[in-house]
């Protein structure tokens, strides 16, 4: 008989579970540390590159010819794109790390949009983008995980702003919507993020329309990490994500979130 072997029984199982939990926690902490370090190491050379190109563009080191100015502006745009990709990548990693059950709460769509806009406005290179929201007056509340939705929506807005010139415009529209599929009985809230493409589309003309069958073909696969992350979050909430791109109408990425279920609305508050 092996006297060093663990005894069987409930206590041993609890010990084993505790050990597993501790190991997993250490692993998550190590990965989190790795992501923070990687973010720092990528951001540092990007900062130098961005500022040094800015110095050239502003002609602080001497006058430039028109073609030189054009080359530098193009290079700065590429640096901004790289920055956006890095942001998306780390948001996706943060989401993966925090892969926990949804902590749903009743929330107004206005709060949801405000959260996402605040997140996006933290980014200096997007501060010159005109961000607007148009909300239907009778929007039902939604039942979502606020943190995950903020991350997902901010990514989608950044994605829409990505590549827009300055001044560019991103409009977020929200309206109530019926269920997309026969098996979906809950009413939905439809949220659309539209980039104006810099063509001056007025918010008044950026009307939401019912999604058509052909929109299905324009599912936004391959539009970047931000969309993938958003799809993951939205689908976990029981919603769907679609995108449509129309000449002269910019690109619209739409997603649905189930509205607050009546059963939850009418339930007494838990103690």
């Amino acid at each position: 008989m092996d006297v060093l072997a663990r005894p069987d029984g409930p206590e041993a199982e609890v010990d084993a579970l505790r050990e597993t939990c501790a190991t997993l926690r250490r692993r998550v902490e190590r990965r989190s540390q790795l992501h923070l370090t990687a973010a720092h190491e990528l951001t540092t050379p990007l900062t130098a590159l961005h500022d040094l190109l800015g110095i050239l563009e502003e002609e602080l080191t001497g006058p430039l010819s028109a073609p030189q100015r054009d080359v530098i502006r193009t290079a700065r745009n590429s640096v901004s794109q790289l920055r956006a990709q890095i942001d998306d990548l780390f948001d996706a990693l943060a989401f993966e790390l925090g892969d926990q059950p949804l902590r749903r709460q009743e929330l107004g769509v206005d709060v949801l949009i405000q959260d996402a806009l605040e997140e996006v406005r933290k980014l200096p290179h997007l501060r010159r983008i005109d961000l607007r929201s148009i909300l239907h007056p009778n929007l039902p509340k939604v039942f979502v995980d606020r943190t995950q939705m903020r991350l997902a929506m901010a990514g989608l807005i950044r994605n829409a702003a990505h590549g827009l010139g300055s001044p560019g415009r991103v409009t977020i529209l929200a309206c109530p919507h019926g269920a997309f599929e026969p098996h979906e009985t809950a009413p939905q809230v439809l949220i659309a993020v539209n980039d104006s493409g810099g063509d001056g589309t007025s918010p008044q003309s950026a009307q939401l329309r019912p999604l058509r069958d052909e929109d299905e073909e324009l599912l936004c696969a391959g539009q970047g990490l931000a969309v993938d992350l958003c799809r993951e979050v939205i689908e976990r909430h029981g919603g769907r994500i679609l995108a449509a791109s129309r000449p002269g109408d910019g690109t619209t990425c739409c997603f649905s979130v189930p509205a607050m279920p009546a059963a939850v609305r009418s339930a007494p508050p838990s103690a």
């Binding site: 951001t43 540092t44 900062t47 500022d51 800015g54 110095i55 933290k122 200096p124």
Partner: protein, 125 residues
């Protein structure tokens, strides 16, 4: 002419900041680690310190704490820069009476505007 101490370990960012602030008419002195940052501040008595948080031989917060221990640096404007996404850094900077906090890649126009504002305030007081 106001004097700015830039504490930044990445030599390329340091170069960019030096060019910008020189072009703006400021005198610039530099340090690339936490130890020389404190030594340089004591020797040069800058009017403002632009302070990276992640530094060799310490960090920007330690430098700030050491400077704040000296009565002559109690009112010295400290502007923090960081490439880190670690949560809570802004709060820590505020505890040290930071005059500014910028995440990298910073908006150069905003950074310079804040420095101008702080130094104009110091000059007029």
């Amino acid at each position: 002419m106001s004097k700015i101490l830039i504490v930044e370990d990445d030599k390329n960012i340091l170069k960019a900041l030096c060019i910008r602030l020189h072009a703006r008419g400021y005198e610039v002195v530099t340090a690339q680690d936490a130890v020389s940052a404190t030594v340089t501040a004591v020797r040069e008595e800058p009017d403002l310190v632009l302070l990276d948080i992640s530094l060799p031989a310490g960090n920007g917060f330690e430098v700030a704490r050491k400077l704040r221990e000296e009565p002559r640096f109690l009112e010295l404007p400290l502007v923090f820069l960081t490439a880190s996404r670690r949560p809570g850094l802004r709060d820590k900077a505020e505890e040290l009476d930071a005059a500014g906090f910028f995440e990298k890649p910073y908006d150069a126009a905003e950074l310079v505007a804040r420095i101008d504002e702080l130094l104009a305030g110091a000059a007029s007081s």
